[in-house]
Amino acid sequence: MANEQKGVSRRDFLKTTGIATGALVGGGLIGGLVGYNVNKDGVQTKGGTQNAENHDTTSVKGLMFFTKRADFNILSQAVERIFPEDDLGPGAIGLGVPYFIDNQLAGNYGSNAREYMQGPFFAGEATQGYQSRLTRAEIFRQGIAMMEDEAQKRFQKGFTELDGGQMDEILTSIQKNEVEMKGVSSEFFFRLLRQATLEGAYADPIYNGNTNMDGWRMKGFPGHQMAYINVIEEEKFQKIEPKSISSMQH
């Protein structure tokens, strides 16, 4: 049960957030709490029944990677659980995250084009990082099939027919590495899924996520601004209407 894993020790928390080894970026300190907390509670949230089809019909977003709508819908529901719609604003689906991920999987990201993918492959220690022969595209494909399998096994239903709590239960198992995958750990798949969700929520809208820049608007991040030289000494918090780099092209 999701509620069983409450006690997140501070040590685990820090270990998995990047603080453990510090958080200097090029000697520049950037927020430490950027990683994520493995030992987490599968949170109950409302919603989660919204479908990817509810997406803005005027958009030109389309599928470049997934061939089956059903797979795309599983992805959509999963990322919505990770970053749900709430009173702050849209969730992953509303932000176009599923399209962002689909489009990324069709490109360099999905094929690990700029990563060392030569063998031999060995499992290695955690400190050695990613060691799979699988590309991200292959991991997502397998991961989504696995989520559907888990749904059938546990609830005799398709993943997208589950209620939010049931989806969370599956995601939590995946996160805790309790589900078997080939050539990769389910925990790694979860990390990838979570990271891609945040990327889609907060990347510039040119990548087909962060619809209407609402991800940025919720967070108070103004996106692409040419300069802050005139306001950087202000004590007062500056609310600035966000801008995409696409506005540079005109």
Partner: protein, 570 residues
């Protein structure tokens, strides 16, 4: 068959900061210089669309293409070394300007103590302060000898700063440009550290506070605090980088050209001299031999060491016997960090790569280590680099990693979180070294460099002590929740730390304990120079580039001397 090209006076392998400095100085003096750079040309005009966190900061657009080459890594010798398949702990540069394109621009001078660390430590604390496993040694140059070259590097780059740090070495002149703007976030740190009795000063920055023309006639723009600095190129030409300073300086002499897409695979040696280098044109696949009077390796710490190893120049370090110097004293940094959550919202998204304030009260030997179980320390800084939303999702402890609570907390705290961190010196240890990997190869069939590295007792002790000091500062700054970093255990290649790798091609006064002499001239080949942070016998409590910049200017002078007189420079 490799095609042999016409001989040049000087060839540099790589055109980042080091290659650029050597090229500019040699070309100005009339030598014909060729830079071989495996990446592509690029410059300010390429950075108009650079405010794109996803492309540049997450997918590493400007950095090394690991599908061609990476390193392998293990924590210790009993472990199987495996390739770093994705960039993580450090971000290697590639293309014109190297990592100098996407650096932050923190530009420090190492402390006088750093250059004479062994002598000064023994004098003050006796011979047994560190165990024999630590391979401490003096560098063979003193701060005072390097000072004119620090000055030259800072004048070339126009560094913005204030000369108020009581722990720094003596300066022969003021900073070329005034410090950057002191923002409310920096002032919080300044007030807190002052009230604790420490000595805050504006971090010396290569994001210039005003437009500046350097002594070579290159103009550097004024920083606009755009918040997309580290990991990005500057669209204003305001972050000093090789492609707006030393590279055009070299170019305008008419004595310098660059061959791009040229991946050097071997340094060619005959007797006690090198004759040139062999490279692969990465576009056509053709091989070339570039003969040169002088070869300068400026291809970063890892590649410099690797090229010497595959070319069999020098003796590989062996941790069992202690023999050999090549690959020895690999060092990194120790990063004690404390995060604070505040009530008030702050303009965290504004900033610049090197906008910050620092204290050196716990760096080098500026505090007494008699009762402490470590030597050296860290500079402690707050920087306002511009928080970006994909990377920065701060949540207080006990918050779930996903779902509604995560979303709320990460959005709430994005503008309410600050962190302070130390850059701690890493002391060389006999088990931390570089060698060639027996199994994995790069795209050209050359073995990968293998890294064997772990944090040591000294590192862990320092980390703990400094984390406590930093937490005190964070508390004094008024954070409602102070979250000190966890004690460090094993070094992990995954999360980003710093691109401040050092050692492997260390400098010194004796071929028995160094790869190059104090002019960075190879002991075994008088016309081969190796330049980069690999020359540091240990790592310091600062970013390295100011110090290697100074060493490079000194080496450029030595190369000019060598090209007139020949022979060993020492």
């Amino acid at each position: 068959m490799a095609k042999t090209l016409d001989k040049v006076d000087v060839v540099t392998v790589g055109v980042g900061w080091m290659g650029g400095i050597i090229a500019a100085e040699c070309a100005k003096a009339g030598l014909k210089v060729r830079g071989l750079e495996r990446g592509k040309p690029r410059g300010t005009e390429d950075y108009l669309m650079v405010h794109d966190e996803y492309r540049y900061a997450i997918r590493y657009e400007l950095m090394q293409d690991l599908s061609k080459e990476t390193i392998t890594f293990r924590n210790h010798r009993k472990m199987r070394a495996l390739p770093m398949r994705q960039l993580g702990s450090f971000l290697l540069g590639e293309g014109l300007g190297g990592a100098g394109t996407h650096w932050n621009g923190h530009t420090f001078r190492f402390l006088p103590y750093d250059f004479q660390i062994k002598t000064m430590t023994e004098k003050k604390y006796g011979k047994n302060k560190l165990s024999k496993e630590y391979l401490l040694q003096d560098w063979g140059v003193t701060y005072d000898e390097l000072e004119p070259y620090f000055d030259k590097y800072e004048k070339t780059t126009g560094i913005s700063g204030e000369n108020t740090n009581p722990f720094a070495g003596k300066r022969s002149s003021e900073f070329p440009t005034p410090p950057m703007k002191k923002t409310p976030i920096l002032k919080k740190f300044e007030n807190a550290t002052s009230s604790l009795g420490y000595h805050p000063y504006m971090l010396p920055s290569a994001n210039l506070s005003e437009v500046y023309e350097n002594p070579d006639g290159q103009t550097i723009g004024a920083c606009q605090y755009c918040g997309f600095c580290e990991r990005f190129g500057c669209e204003y030409g305001a972050k000093t980088s090789p492609e707006i300073t030393v590279v055009p300086t070299a170019m305008k002499t008419g004595n310098f050209d660059i061959t791009f897409h040229a991946n050097v695979v071997e340094v060619l040696k005959s007797g006690n001299k090198v004759t040139g280098v062999r490279y692969v044109d990465t576009q056509s696949g053709e091989e070339f031999i570039q003969p040169a009077e002088v070869v300068v390796l400026t291809s970063y710490v890892m590649n410099n060491a690797k090229l010497l190893m595959v070319s069999k120049i020098g003796e590989q370090y062996n941790p069992d016997t202690g023999r050999g110097t090549l690959g020895k004293n690999y060092g990194y940094q120790i990063l004690p960090t404390v995060t604070g959550f505040f009530n008030e919202q702050m303009n965290v998204f504004m900033g610049a790569g090197a906008l910050g304030m620092t204290i050196d009260d716990f760096n080098g030997d500026s505090f007494d280590h008699s009762d402490l179980d470590f030597i050296h320390g860290a500079s402690i800084s707050i920087t306002q680099t511009g928080y970006r939303p994909i990377q920065i999702n701060p949540v207080p402890p006990e918050t779930p990693a996903w779902g509604s609570d995560f979303k709320k907390a990460s959005i709430e705290n994005y503008t309410r979180m600050l962190s302070i961190g130390g850059q701690g010196a890493s002391m060389p240890h006999k088990e931390n070294f570089m060698s060639l990997d027996p199994d994995y190869r790069d795209a050209y069939g050359v073995p990968l460099l293998q890294l064997t590295y772990n944090f040591t007792e000294q590192d862990r002790n320092m980390h703990k002590y400094l984390t406590d000091r930093i937490a005190e500062i964070m508390k004094e700054m008024g954070a409602k929740t102070v979250v000190p970093g966890n004690p460090i255990s094993d070094y992990d290649i995954v999360p980003y730390q710093t691109t401040h790798n050092t050692g492997g091609t260390i400098m010194g006064t004796d071929p028995a304990n160094s790869v190059v002499n104090t002019y960075l001239q190879h002991w075994d080949a008088e016309n081969l120079f190796v330049v980069g942070a690999g020359n540091f016998p240990h790592n310091g409590g600062y970013n390295p580039t100011g110090t290697i910049g100074a060493l490079a200017y000194r080496t450029a002078e030595a190369i000019l001397k060598y090209s007139k007189n020949g022979g060993s420079l020492v």
